[in-house]
């Protein structure tokens, strides 16, 4: 018997077929936009959509082949098990929150990359690594500080900064 943790969240067959469909749609989008721009021979040579039109066409044809190959797949292998999916989500969700924290979303302005990184590393260590607070704070604060020195001072490459840096006068 399979334990619920090992149960498949999706089969290779399904993901393969869905991916092929998505790529087909992308190919169709490329064809459509190239056609709109003109994919033929203009008065002064090939039009802007000439080359991408064929790219889109090949994309569509090959994804149809991939789709058929995916449907014929009989093995029923698992693409990702539920426990792995959980692991992946436990990385993906903090990452998405992290990127949102850096630059903000819509009207909400972000915290800048240094503060966001500190929060991200701390969250990650506390949640997935179960570290003590001392260790967590030590790493999560020192890493952004090192990066700050490296990028802002040494390489003079400005990275996104937020209210904390403004308050400290580091902008």
């Amino acid at each position: 018997m399979e334990t619920p943790e090992e149960k498949s969240a999706a089969s290779v067959k399904t993901v393969d077929a869905v991916t092929a469909v998505v790529i087909f749609l992308l190919g169709a989008l490329v064809i459509w936009d190239s056609w709109r721009l003109g994919a033929k021979w203009g008065s002064d040579g090939p039009e802007a959509g000439y080359f991408p039109f064929y790219i889109g066409l090949i994309l569509c044809i090959s994804s149809v082949v991939n789709f058929i190959a995916a449907l014929r797949e009989k093995s029923g292998d698992s693409f990702v098990s539920r426990s792995s999916m959980k692991m992946i989500m436990s990385v993906m969700i903090p990452t998405i929150i992290y990127v949102a924290l850096i630059g903000g979303v819509g009207p909400v302005s972000g915290l800048g990359i240094y503060v966001a990184s500190a929060i991200f590393i701390a969250l990650f260590m506390k949640w997935l690594g179960k570290y003590a607070w001392g260790m967590t704070l030590g790493v999560s604060i020192s890493v952004p500080v090192v990066f700050f020195v490296l990028f802002e001072i040494w390489f003079k490459v400005p990275l996104p900064k937020g209210p904390l840096e403004a308050a400290l006068g580091l902008n």
Binding site: F51, P52, V91, I102, F120, I121, G129, V139, V143
Partner: protein, 497 residues
């Protein structure tokens, strides 16, 4: 012997304290990148590329190419000590390297791996030194149709050499081309596939794609495997090094075979990963000890390492002479050339002598420095690997985000990187190859320009790709590569009868 004179001049360029310092920094960063999961040669170079925008191109390429050599060396450390390939090209090294480490012969395996990497690289650099100027001279005769034919050959080779479904290779490649065509069309000034989004005007930067596909994608794959680093003891004593070196000349046949395989696979865009497998496979079938392969045979470490390093190095030959990279990392370096304002291709050899020969000279020195660095610092890097993944992973993700942001200073790119990361993860698991996607993204515009100019020359007929002996040969070769799988099957059937 013009090459020797040029090479000596190259050494003069490299042998300044500043450039030597950058070389060491590059090697050490490279080994670190090669050792850490989620940071590889291609995306490591991609992340650091924006930091070199203000440097002079020769110093910049010396540092970045040294990162590449370092990453090639570093991949072996994790394979042998932890049975975890730090880089795809060191997968074959785990087959015999890890069993050796388990038998307490880690030092021997590491020495053999590093030394054969060095030998492979040296053979490839010698090959580059003497053939690159010839290829460049020859390529000066190329017009747009010849260039397009060479691009065609590059991409068709991917299809012919693909291990999985050729249609998945084609799909990945075409996605790369499609992404490359997004944005402002430089010839007509029209906007292509931007759908009204101003962020899409500048198109998709391949650096973002590389950081996402290889960096984030790799982290997701690593996490799924639930990594726990349990490694063998890592110490290399001088005695072991010398004893191993005494044994190595015995395997000269394997070294030569693997070097040749590597050089060939590097020039044709096979890259280091298939080269390492091929080197291992050929050695296994031809060696008298073939039956012991997989149980900790030193030859099984020498063969893939020599081939991988030779291929990784040889991949720079087509990049320098034709502007066609033989591997994703070479593609990133090529992108660097364009950013520094250098036009890759045969003219580099006449117009940018300092740059080209400085780079080639740095390949010799960089590999010597790399060998010394890895032989002396293995314990240090092995210790880094023992840092738990829940600390390493967020730090690597932060580095990737910073790397993506610095390319254009835009948050949109950081979001794109996350999306490319998910795509990279799905593609890896479904066996869509990532290398052709990246190469198509880098070369897309140039291939399209060559195609358009050819079409203008011929007023729209395809016969221009067969107009003279040279272009016809290249195009025919490309078609043979494209249909290699069915052709090969056909031949096998004929022979069977």
């Amino acid at each position: 012997m013009d090459e020797i004179t040029s090479l000596m001049h190259g050494f003069v360029v490299v042998l300044t304290p500043y450039n030597l310092g950058l070389m060491m920094v590059g090697i050490i960063l490279g080994v670190l990148i090669g050792v850490l999961p989620g940071l590889g040669g291609a995306n490591g170079v991609a992340i650091l590329l924006p930091l070199t925008f203000s440097m002079n191109p020769t110093s910049a390429i010396i540092m970045l190419s040294c990162i590449y050599w370092g990453a090639l060396f570093g991949g072996a450390i994790t394979s042998i000590l932890f049975n975890i390939p730090g880089e795809p090209w060191s997968v074959a090294t785990t087959f015999d390297g890890y069993p050796m480490a388990q038998q307490g012969r880690a030092g021997e395996a590491l020495t053999a791996a590093f030394t054969s990497s060095f030998v492979g690289a040296l053979v490839a650099v010698l090959m580059i030194t003497f053939t690159a100027p010839l290829v460049a001279k020859f390529a000066l005769k190329f017009g747009p149709p010849e260039y397009f034919a060479v691009y065609l050959l590059t991409f068709c080779s991917f299809v012919g050499m693909s291990k999985g479904s050729p249609f998945k290779t084609i799909t990945a490649m075409m996605l790369g081309f499609a992404l490359a065509s997004v944005g402002l069309d430089t010839v007509t000034g029209q906007l292509r596939m931007t759908f009204g989004f101003t962020e899409m005007l500048k198109g998709f930067d391949f650096l973002i794609a590389v950081i996402g596909l290889f960096g984030i994608g790799e982290i997701l794959l690593t996490i799924e495997e639930g990594l726990a680093f349990k490694g063998a003891e890592a110490k290399i004593k001088m005695r072991v090094v010398i004893d191993t070196w005494k044994k190595l000349p015995k395997y000269w046949k394997t070294s030569i075979r693997s070097s040749l395989i590597g050089c060939w696979m590097g020039i044709t865009p096979g890259g280091a990963t298939p080269a390492s497998f091929m080197g291992y496979g050929v050695a296994k079938s031809m060696s008298p000890n073939g039956a012991n392969f997989g149980k900790g045979e030193m030859e099984g470490v020498i063969a893939p390492e020599t081939a991988a390093h030779a291929a990784g190095t040889a991949a720079l030959l087509p990049m320098l002479t034709l502007g066609i990279p033989g591997s994703p990392t070479a593609a990133v370096l090529l992108g660097g050339l364009l950013i520094w304002g250098l036009q890759p291709g045969p003219l580099l050899f006449t117009e940018q002598k300092d740059f080209v020969w400085g780079l080639i000279a740095s390949m010799y020195l960089g590999n010597i420095a790399g060998l010394i660095v890895v032989l002396t610092t293995v314990p240090l890097f092995a210790a880094i690997l023992r840092i738990p993944f829940s600390i390493v992973a967020p730090v690597i993700l932060v580095i990737c985000a910073i790397g993506a942001y610095t390319v254009h200073g835009s948050m949109f790119d950081v979001w794109l990187m996350v999306i490319f990361g998910v795509v990279g993860y799905i593609f890896k698991k479904l066996d869509y190859p990532l290398a052709p996607l990246v190469l198509a993204l880098v070369l897309g515009d140039r291939a399209e320009d060559a195609f358009r100019q050819s079409m203008l020359m011929s007023q729209g007929t395809m016969s221009i790709f067969f107009a003279n002996g040279l272009v016809a040969t290249i195009t025919s070769l490309a078609l043979v590569m494209l249909f290699w799988v069915p052709l090969n099957a056909g031949f096998a059937k004929l022979r069977g009868k």
